[in-house]
C-alpha cells in the first residue's frame, strides 16, 4: 500500500490560514471522520484530539482548542495515520506539523530537552551542540579513506550526506565506518561534505520550527550546489525524508537515496563477498521515514537475507504497519516530557515485539533507533539475549577480510 502521490506536499510557506486553499489542504474537506488515523496512532489514546478530531476542529474553525490542548506534542510524525487514511489526506506531511508548530509556539514553557536541541541545531548545525569543526573527525578512525568532496576537485558519483548522529554519536560513527568499508568494497566513487555539512533539519521541519528548517536547508543546498555529483546517499532516514519532501531536488537535478537502497541495487556484486557467517535471528524494524514514508520495505530485507547464517523473522507490526520508535517529530527530545505524562516509551513497546519474535538481533536503518532501542533493551533487561545493529553494520561484519 503506497502513500498516495507520495512526493506532493504543500508549498513551504503554507500556514494554517492558507492550508485549505492548497490542493492538499482541500483534501481535508473530504475526510470521512472514520477514525482510521487514530487507531494506529502510537499515542492516539493519550491525545485529547487524535488526528480525526484535529481535522474536524479545523473544519469547524475550533483549532485553537486543539492547539491549547497540547495534543500534537504527542505526535511522533510516524506516518501511521497517513499511510492508512482512506481519503489520502496528507496528515503527517502537512496538517499535523502545522498544528504542532502552533502548539509549540503557544506552550507556556517549551520542554527543556527539545528547546535545547533546537537551539543547538540553529547554533551548531547539530542537535547535540557539538562543534561543527569536529563533524568529520570520525573519518580518522574509519580504517579506509573517506574523501572530502572539496578536496576531490572533480565530480563524484555519490555525495554521502553523513548527518549528525552518524558523525558525532559513537554508535552512529560505528555505522559510518561500516558504510565506508562497504563503499570501498564495492568501489563506490564517493565523497562527503565533511565539516561543511549541517543537520538536514528534518526534525526541525516535523516540529515545524520552519524558520529553523529553512535556514538549515538553505545552507545545505548552497553548499551542495558548489559540487557536482550524481546522487545524494544518506544512512539517515530522517534526512532522506527531508530531501525527498522539502529540498528542491528536482530544481538541481539531484537524486537522493538511502544507503540500503544503494547497497540493495548492487546486491549482486555484494553478495559473493558476504562470506562470514553471522549466526543470528534478525528482526528488521521498518523505520517510519524509509518504510511508510518512501515505500522501501524489501531492500533492507534482501540485504539481510543475503548474509550467510542470518534468519530473518518478522515482528507483529511490520512493513507499513510498523511501530514507531518514538523518535520522530521531535520525539527524540521529548522522552522526559512523555515520561512526565506517564506515557509508555514506544521504543520499549517495539523491543518487546522483537523479543517476542525470537530475535537475537534487532536490525535498524535509522540512526535514532540505535540509541533508543539499545536503551530500551537495557531497561527491559533483554541485553543478554538481544543486540541492536544497523543493517550496514551487519553487512560490514559479514564482509570478507
Amino acid at each position: 500500500m503506497a502513500i498516495v502521490e507520495r512526493n506532493v506536499t504543500c508549498p513551504v510557506d503554507t500556514t494554517l490560514e492558507t492550508l485549505l486553499a492548497t490542493p492538499e489542504g482541500q483534501q481535508i474537506m473530504s475526510c470521512l471522520q472514520c477514525g482510521t488515523c487514530a487507531g494506529p496512532c502510537p499515542y492516539g489514546e493519550h491525545m485529547d484530539y487524535p488526528p480525526r478530531q484535529v481535522i474536524n476542529m479545523l473544519r469547524r474553525g475550533l483549532l485553537d482548542e486543539v492547539i491549547a490542548s497540547g495534543s500534537l506534542l504527542r505526535c511522533v510524525a510516524c506516518y501511521a495515520c497517513m499511510a492508512k487514511c482512506p481519503r489520502g489526506i496528507r496528515l503527517t506531511d502537512v496538517l499535523l506539523p502545522l498544528v504542532k508548530e502552533q502548539t509549540l509556539a503557544n506552550l507556556p514553557e517549551m520542554p527543556g530537552e527539545l528547546q535545547k536541541s533546537l537551539e543547538n541545531m540553529l547554533r551548531y548545525g547539530n542537535p547535540m551542540g557539538e562543534s561543527g569543526r569536529k563533524r568529520a573527525a570520525w573519518t580518522a578512525t574509519a580504517g579506509v579513506p573517506v574523501p572530502l568532496i572539496a578536496q576531490a576537485g572533480r565530480p563524484v558519483d555519490v555525495l554521502w550526506f553523513v548527518e549528525c548522529y552518524a558523525s558525532f554519536y559513537p554508535r552512529g560513527q560505528a555505522v559510518s565506518r561500516a558504510a565506508a568499508k562497504l563503499f570501498h568494497a564495492l568501489g563506490v566513487d564517493f565523497a562527503i561534505l565533511g565539516n561543511d555539512e549541517k543537520c538536514a533539519g528534518e526534525c526541525g521541519r516535523l516540529t515545524w520550527e520552519s524558520g529553523l528548517f529553512e535556514s538549515l536547508a538553505e545552507y545545505n543546498v548552497k553548499v551542495l550546489a558548489k559540487y557536482r555529483f550524481h546522487r545524494i546517499v544518506t544512512g539517515d532516514s530522517h534526512a532522506l525524508n527531508a530531501f525527498h519532501r522539502r529540498y528542491p531536488l528536482a530544481e538541481h537535478g539531484w537524486q537522493a537515496e538511502h544507503t540500503v537502497q544503494l547497497l540493495a541495487r548492487r546486491l549482486d556484486e555484494l553478495k559473493p563477498r558476504l562470506t562470514k557467517r553471522l549466526e543470528a535471528v534478525v528482526a528488521y524494524h521498518d523505520n517510519c521515514c524509509l518504510g511508510r514514508g518512501l515505500d522501501c520495505y524489501d531492500e533492507p530485507r534482501a540485504l539481510l537475507t543475503a548474509i550467510p547464517g542470518v534468519k530473518l523473522v518478522e515482528m507483529t507490526h511490520n512493513r507499513m504497519n510498523s511501530l514507531c520508535c518514538g523518535g520522530g517529530g521531535g520525539g527524540m527530545w521529548l522522552d522526559t516530557y512523555y515520561k512526565s505524562k506517564d506515557m509508555e516509551r514506544l521504543s520499549e513497546r517495539r523491543v518487546k515485539e522483537a523479543v517476542a519474535a525470537g530475535a537475537s538481533v534487532l536490525a535498524v536503518a535509522c540512526p535514532y533507533e540505535l540509541s533508543r532501542f539499545e536503551d530500551a533493551v537495557k531497561t527491559l533487561g533483554h541485553d543478554k539475549q538481544m543486540v541492536v545493529r544497523d543493517v550496514v553494520e551487519l553487512l560490514a561484519e559479514s564482509l570478507e577480510g
Binding site: 477514525g35 487507531g39 496512532c41 480525526r52 489520502g88
Partner: protein
C-alpha cells in the same frame, strides 16, 4: 422524398438552450444570429427545448413553409437525440440523413466556463455543420435479420434469472458457466438480508428449473472464448473444459466418490472457500446443477501418479460408463441474436490491507468464509467454530475492508453494511457471542433495509462508529489466540482496544479478475474502476455501447440480490425485445467500393474487423457486403487509390466540416 440533389440547398438551423445547460454558458441568440448570415441558411432560430414536441414541430413547420431541404440542430449528444430530430425531419418529408447534429452541450457548454470562448466554439461547430450538410445525400435505412437465441454468460443468480425469463418467453438460451455448477456467489451464502430467508431455499428451485427447462442449454465448466459478428448475428465459440465425466451418462449417484482410493476427503474444497476438504472426484455441493460429479486432474492419482491408480471409481460407475479419463477440451459454436453478460464479481482480497492480519492470524476470516461456517451445508455443518476448534465468545466485524479507500478500492460496495448486520445476527444466534460491528457510515438504503438495521441493532449487537486501525495479538492472552482491535470510537472521541476471539472482515466487491478479457471478447467498455459500463447510467442501465449485448448483476457494479434479479429481468426484456422483433435497422453509414477506381490490391480485405470485404476474382475488384459493414472506416482510410467511400463520411463532407471549423469569418 421530394428533394433532389439538383435543387438549391435551403438550410434550417436550430440552437437549443437545453434549459440552462447550454444557454447558461453559450450565447445562443448570438450563435443563431451569426448562423443566419451564412450562405444557404434560410432559417436560424434558438429555442428552449428543441427535443420537446413544440421544438420538433417548429422544424417541421419551417420545412413546410420555407421549403427547407437540410436541417442542422445544435444541442446535446447525437447519442441522445439524433434519432428524435431525424424522425422529425422525415415526418416533414425530408430524407432523415439530410439532417446534421452539432453537440454543443457535452463538447462545449458542459466542459467550458468562459462564456465568450464557449460561444466562439459553438459558432465554429455550427459553421462546420452548415458547410457539411449541403453535401449530404438521401440514404435509406436497411433492415438486417436477427437470429433467434440468446447467449447468457455467467450462471450466478443474475444469469439464472435472465436465462429463465427468456426461456419462459420461448427463446432458446445458451447459458455458459465457468464453474462446475451454476449458482455463483449466492449459492455460498447462508441467509439473505433483509428477510433472513435461506439463500439455498430460494436459489436452488431456480437452479433446478434451469436444469429442467427445455429451452435452456447449460454449458457448465465452459468459457466463451470468441465472439464474432454483430447485433442480431453473434457467432460465439465456447470452450468446454474436460471434467472427465460424460455429462449425459452421469446420474449424480456419487458411488465413484465413495469408491475413490482416497478414503477421506483430503484436498481444499473450492466451494467452501478452502475451509473444507473434498476428494479428487466430487460434487461441488449437494444441490449443484448440473448434478454430476467432476474429476480434478490436479489431485486425482490417475493424473498425478506415474503408476496411475486402480480406478475403483470406474468400477463403481460400472455400466453407466460415465468416467472418461481421455476427455479433451472441446470447442462448440453457436449463433445468437443477443448476449447477456452476467459474469459477476470477485471478493476483495483482504491481504491487500495487511494491517488487518488476514492470512497471518488464523482467527481472522473474510465474510464469505463466515457465510460457509454458519451454513448447514458448510464445512462445520453450520456450527460456528474457528480454525482452533473453539466457538468465539467475542467477535469483531470490520466494515469497509477494500471499499471507500483510496489505497484499495474507492467505491462503496453497497452490500457490506447489510451483510455485516446479517452476519452479526447469525453469529449471535449460533454462538451467543458478543458482536462488535465497526463501521464508518451505516448504509442501509432500500426496501425494508433500514427496518432490518433497526431490528439487528435492537438485538444487542454493539455498533461502534470508527474504522479499526490496527489488529494484533492480545499480549494479555497467554495462548496468543485473542486479537486486539484498536479503533477510535468516533462518537466518544476515544481510542479503545477491543479484545476479540474472532475477526470478520467485511470485504468489498470488485471486478472479476478476468473482466478485462471478457470486455475485449465482447467489445464492451469498462468504467475506471473496472466494472462493465452501461450505455447510460440512468436511461440505458442494462445496455452496453455494443448493440445487442446487455449487462446483468455485479459485473456492472456492486449490488444486492433484489437489484441483481431486477436488472437481470430488465436485461432479459431488452434481449427479448430485440430477438422477437426479428430485425435491426442498420445505420446507412456503410462503405462502398467505386469499382472503376479500385486497383484490386486487396489491402483492405484483411483489415476489415467484420469480414465484410471480399475480393471478386472475375472482376479483380474488392466488394463490401453492406449487411456486414459496421461503418468503422478502416478500409476507407487504408485504400491506396481512394476508391472506397463511406456514406455520411465522404471526403467532401469531412473537408467542408474542417474548413467550417477553421474558417474565421
Amino acid at each position: 422524398m421530394r428533394q433532389s440533389m439538383s435543387e438549391p440547398v435551403r438550410i434550417g438551423f436550430y440552437i437549443c438552450h437545453c434549459g440552462t445547460n447550454i444557454a447558461g454558458v453559450v450565447d445562443v441568440d448570438r450563435v443563431a444570429k451569426y448562423v443566419a448570415t451564412l450562405p444557404n441558411v434560410v432559417v436560424s432560430r434558438n429555442y428552449k427545448y428543441m427535443c420537446s414536441d413544440p421544438g420538433q414541430e417548429l422544424i417541421q413547420q419551417d420545412i413546410r413553409e420555407n421549403q427547407l431541404n437540410r436541417i442542422v440542430v445544435a444541442a446535446c449528444s447525437p447519442l441522445l437525440h439524433e434519432r428524435t430530430f431525424r424522425n422529425a425531419t422525415a415526418k416533414a418529408g425530408i430524407n432523415p440523413f439530410c439532417f446534421q447534429m452539432v453537440n454543443i452541450r457535452e463538447h462545449d457548454a458542459w466542459v467550458h466556463t468562459d462564456k465568450e470562448e464557449a460561444t466562439t466554439k459553438a459558432i465554429a461547430l455550427a459553421r462546420a455543420a452548415i458547410r457539411r450538410v449541403p453535401h449530404h445525400k438521401p440514404l435509406e435505412v436497411k433492415q438486417v435479420a436477427v437470429q433467434p437465441g440468446v447467449l447468457v454468460v455467467g450462471g450466478g443468480i443474475a444469469g439464472i434469472h435472465a436465462a429463465l425469463t427468456l426461456a419462459d418467453g420461448g427463446q432458446k438460451v445458451y447459458l455458459v458457466e465457468r464453474d462446475l455448477t451454476i449458482g455463483g456467489h449466492m449459492a455460498r451464502f447462508d441467509k439473505t438480508f433483509p428477510t433472513l430467508d435461506c439463500a439455498a431455499c430460494i436459489l436452488t428451485p431456480k437452479m433446478s428449473q434451469v436444469r429442467a427447462h427445455p429451452n435452456i442449454t447449460l454449458w457448465s465448466y465452459s468459457e466463451v472464448v470468441k465472439v464474432d459478428g454483430y447485433v442480431g448475428n453473434y457467432r460465439v465459440t465456447v470452450k468446454r473444459k474436460p471434467r472427465y465425466i460424460v455429462e449425459d451418462l452421469c446420474t449424480g449417484c456419487q458411488e465413484c466418490v465413495e469408491a475413490c482410493v482416497y478414503r477421506q476427503p483430503k484436498f481444499p474444497d473450492e466451494f467452501n472457500v478452502g475451509l473444507g476438504l473434498r476428494k479428487p472426484v466430487f460434487l461441488p455441493f449437494p444441490q449443484a446443477v448440473p448434478a454430476i460429479v467432476s474429476i480434478d486432474p490436479g489431485t486425482c492419482r490417475v493424473f498425478t501418479h506415474p503408476n496411475g491408480c486402480k480406478q475403483p471409481c470406474v468400477t463403481a460407475c460400472g455400466d453407466r460408463k460415465a468416467i472418461d479419463f481421455s476427455q479433451k477440451e472441446e470447442l462448440v459454436e453457436v449463433t445468437v441474436g443477443a448476449v447477456i453478460v452476467s459474469t459477476g464479481f470477485q471478493i476483495f482480497d483482504a491481504k491487500r490491507v495487511p494491517y488487518y492480519g488476514y492470512g497471518v492470524y488464523p482467527n481472522v476470516y473474510n465474510a464469505l468464509e463466515v457465510e460457509r461456517l454458519v451454513n448447514a451445508s458448510g464445512p462445520t455443518n453450520g456450527e460456528l467454530v474457528m480454525r482452533n476448534g473453539k466457538r468465539p465468545k467475542t467477535v469483531g466485524i470490520i466494515h469497509c475492508v477494500g471499499s471507500r479507500d483510496e489505497n484499495t478500492n474507492r467505491w462503496c460496495s453497497r452490500v457490506c453494511c447489510l451483510y455485516s448486520l446479517k452476519l452479526a445476527h447469525l453469529i449471535k444466534e449460533r454462538t451467543e457471542a458478543e458482536v462488535w460491528n465497526f463501521y464508518i457510515d451505516m448504509r442501509t438504503p432500500g426496501k425494508l433495509m433500514e427496518e432490518f438495521y433497526n431490528r439487528i441493532s435492537g438485538e444487542g449487537v454493539h455498533l461502534v462508529r470508527g474504522k479499526v486501525g490496527d489488529v494484533y495479538p492480545d499480549p494479555a492472552d497467554p495462548e496468543g489466540q485473542r486479537l486486539v482491535l484498536q479503533a477510535e470510537d468516533t462518537l466518544l472521541g476515544r481510542v479503545l482496544k477491543f479484545p476479540v476471539d474472532m475477526v470478520v472482515l467485511s470485504i468489498g466487491l470488485e471486478p472479476a479478475a478476468d473482466a478485462q478479457q471478457v470486455r475485449r471478447t465482447l467489445n464492451m467498455s469498462c468504467g475506471s474502476e473496472g466494472f462493465f459500463l452501461e450505455r447510460h447510467p440512468k436511461l440505458a442501465p442494462v445496455s452496453t455501447c455494443n448493440d445487442g449485448i446487455y449487462l446483468a448483476g455485479c459485473c456492472q457494479g456492486p449490488k444486492d440480490i433484489p437489484d441483481t434479479v431486477a436488472q437481470a429481468g430488465a436485461a432479459a426484456a431488452e434481449a427479448y425485445a430485440l430477438v422477437t422483433r426479428g430485425y435491426v435497422e442498420q445505420e446507412p453509414n456503410t462503405a462502398y467500393v467505386v469499382e472503376e477506381d479500385c486497383s484490386g490490391c486487396k489491402s483492405c480485405v484483411p483489415l476489415c474487423p467484420y469480414n465484410a470485404i471480399s475480393f471478386v476474382e472475375d472482376k479483380k475488384k474488392a466488394a463490401i457486403n453492406e449487411a456486414l459493414c459496421k461503418g468503422c472506416g478502416t478500409c476507407v482510410a487504408s485504400c491506396p487509390s481512394g476508391s472506397i467511400v463511406q456514406n455520411l463520411f465522404e471526403d467532401q463532407e469531412i473537408f467542408s466540416e474542417i474548413e467550417g471549423v477553421l474558417a474565421n469569418e
